[in-house]
């Protein structure tokens, strides 16, 4: 069931990973805009955003119906749907595909919920490993600071409240996200993560990521089919994919 280590598809796959509040979504959003600006064929996909599955997930989360096993599987369903209908066809068609969270989110988070890591790797065994995986590493306290600055409290699942770790959201967040961070750290070598210091200023991190991408991927090989010159000349905004419009709230 394992896909080949080095894929022979013309596209390239870049994923970002990290705990909530690590700033990874900001970083991949900037990478997306940069690549579009460079005139690349690029596609962006976000964890937990398949319209069909998201409805079930939202309902289940609201009513607290999920156990560690079904929490994992419902996200795996979402991933499979996006993987087979978007990510894989895009890679075959020679796109640069950007993923905000990939299977490692499950490996880190579902393991923290008690799922067997070997089982998780089998369930997600069909997924092609990315060409580059950035891990945005940040102390849990910093992540919590960032979250509370932007929207007050961590949410129920970010704080691992379903595990009953603590009655306090912030304390729950500290314990749960600390476990997840340790799980990420253990995977750095196994999956060749590029560790990013997510405490640095946003533009420093962005410069480093761009440099690394340019070293590893020949961006001229992925020209966009959109006639950019014409677009620029007439001020036509670049095409927006439906996936870009989905509210970031969809992510847990």
């Amino acid at each position: 069931m394992n896909p080949p280590e080095v894929h022979d598809m013309p596209g390239r796959l870049i994923a970002v990973e990290g705990v909530d509040g690590s700033g990874k979504s900001t970083q991949i959003d900037l990478l997306h805009k940069w690549l579009v600006g460079m005139g690349c064929r690029v596609f962006f996909s976000e964890w937990n955003s398949s319209p069909l599955v998201m409805e079930a997930t939202k309902k289940a989360k609201r009513r607290l119906l999920l156990t560690p096993t079904t929490f994992c599987l419902i996200h795996a369903t979402d991933f499979a749907d996006r993987y087979e209908r978007q990510i894989l066809p895009m890679l075959r068609a020679g796109y640069i595909v950007l993923c905000d969270r990939y299977v490692y989110t499950s490996y880190a988070r579902d393991k923290a919920r008690g799922c067997d890591p070997a089982w998780l790797r089998e369930v997600y065994g069909f997924a092609q490993p990315p060409d580059i995986t950035f891990w945005y590493h940040v102390p849990v306290e910093t992540a919590l600071d960032r979250l509370t600055k932007s929207r007050k409290e961590p949410n129920y699942f970010e704080a691992g409240m379903d595990l009953g770790l603590s009655l306090d959201l912030r304390e729950g967040f500290r314990i749960f996200q600390d476990r997840i961070t340790r799980n990420y750290a253990e995977m750095v070598e196994e999956f060749g993560f590029v560790t990013m210091d997510a405490t640095l200023p946003i533009h420093h991190q962005q410069q480093a990521a761009r440099k690394l991408i340019q070293e590893r991927i020949d961006l001229t090989a992925y020209p966009s089919r959109i006639e950019r010159v014409v677009h620029d000349q007439y001020g036509i905004p670049p095409p927006v994919f439906e996936e870009d419009l989905i509210d970031a709230e969809g992510e847990w």
Binding site: M1, L66, L73, E84, G114, F126
Partner: protein, 235 residues
Amino acid sequence: MSHRTYRHTIPGIDMGELDGLLIVVEGPDSSGRSTQIWLLSRWLEQLGFAVEQMGLKRSKLVANELEQAKNGNVMSPRTMALFYATDFYDQLENRILPALRAGSVVLADRYIYTLMARDMVRGAPFEWLEPLYSMAVVPDAVYLLDTSAENILDRTLSSRGQLDYWESGMDLGLARDWYRSFMVYQQSMRGQFEPLMSRFSIERIDGDRSILDVHEDLKSRIDRVLAGYTDPRQD
């Protein structure tokens, strides 16, 4: 009576406490499955057992969305497989395990084997499906109502007047006409069950007999399972 899962363990569940019995009846639609489960349920209750029934696609979690997805027919086989797995584990954790813990006899109207066979017909490798369902509780007995495609066709047409899209495998593009597709699909489902029979100790029940003959057959087999079982609370 102690139970175990096939391979991986379910996070947060102590398998030592499950005192009930899990009996699975497998078979395609119109194989007589529901009729037999109804008869068995009545018989077991007469004997004084608490009976709990479960089936596929009945979870609170995703059953509605699963139905929608099926109707829209837009999901890939793998996505459908994972959706069904989510539904299965939701029921396993929220219905089957509590019932077993309470000492009930759980009659399952199909289980992981039908799910696996359906996915394998659609190209999923067993090597992926086996771990996916490896946290399923090993049943105390599994019976397959093995019924010929001709008989299933006859029964379906006489009771419903038409063939079902999915039970005819129309999503697979096996044939353009429903009759041919139905026959080919039923045959390939039987074929996919073959390697599962010995691996999962599934007992074959000749489903081409009369309702009462099949019922007597199942009763005598389940009698032997019950012989090794005593509800601890009745001691």
